[in-house]
């Protein structure tokens, strides 16, 4: 049964890494600025999930804090970028 969990952890890490690569591709080639912001949003979600899965595999609880910081920082970053696209400045 340990093999099943090992396979699931490996597949989760590969899939999340691939998802981060696809989001980075959208950031690189996105035709407009809002596409790049959307790619950044998807990239930080995939990276946060990858941190959690890696923390499960390594058996250390210290990667939770990193995932929490990524979640909150990603929200603030995406909202401020969307505000910048909407108004031209972040703080009016």
């Amino acid at each position: 049964m340990t093999t099943v969990l090992w396979l699931a952890l490996t597949w989760a890490q590969i899939a999340l890494g691939l998802a981060a690569c696809l989001a980075a591709y959208r950031i690189a080639v996105g035709p407009r600025a809002q596409d790049r912001v959307l790619g950044l949003d998807a990239l930080y979600i995939a990276t946060m999930l990858l941190f959690i899965v890696t923390g499960m595999r390594l058996g250390t609880p210290f990667l939770f804090e990193a995932a929490l910081v990524i979640a909150i920082g990603g929200f603030v970053g995406t909202v401020s970028l969307a505000k910048f696209l909407l108004r031209g400045e972040v703080i009016e």
Binding site: L9, A15, L38, M56, A71
Partner: protein, 146 residues
């Protein structure tokens, strides 16, 4: 794999199922992000990862750590609530910003704002013959710049 060996088989199967479900949904969302053609289609794709992708992986992590540490371990709920509350706000903001930018650019790719559309209908019915005024004017107002 030292701490994870102490899991019973049924919990191991459950955790593996949640892991595979969440990571596959996130991968599908990222694939849709590069596959779909329009920005307004693409904005829906990553929400696969932020809804059940995040929920399944956090559930797997919660079950694992609750068993390993032999107590109820709810730290993941903070991340889950944070992601589920903030994602609609973020994407609504982003969609509104994209719509604003597309309207400011013009070109008829997106329908105009409601105020611009109603004023365009009034000007159209006032300076044309009455037969055209009775027609639905949605096609005529597509090209109006807001």
């Amino acid at each position: 794999m030292t701490a994870l060996d102490s899991l019973p088989p049924w919990l191991m199967a459950l955790v593996a199922f949640f892991l595979v479900l969440g990571s596959t949904l996130t991968l599908l969302g990222a694939f849709g992000l590069i596959h779909l053609k329009s920005f307004y289609d693409r904005i829906h794709a990553p929400t696969l990862g932020t809804s059940w992708g995040t929920a399944a992986i956090l559930l797997a992590s919660l079950l694992t750590w609750s068993w390993v540490q032999d107590r109820v371990f709810v730290h993941e709920l903070v991340i889950g609530i944070c992601v589920m509350v903030t994602t609609p706000v973020t994407l609504m903001f982003l969609g509104r910003a994209a719509l604003h930018r597309d309207r400011a650019e013009g070109g008829g790719a997106v329908p105009p704002a409601a105020a611009a559309r109603s004023s365009a209908d009034e000007s159209m019915s006032s300076d044309s013959d009455p037969k055209a005024a009775t027609l639905p004017t949605t096609l005529g107002s597509e090209k109006v710049r807001p």
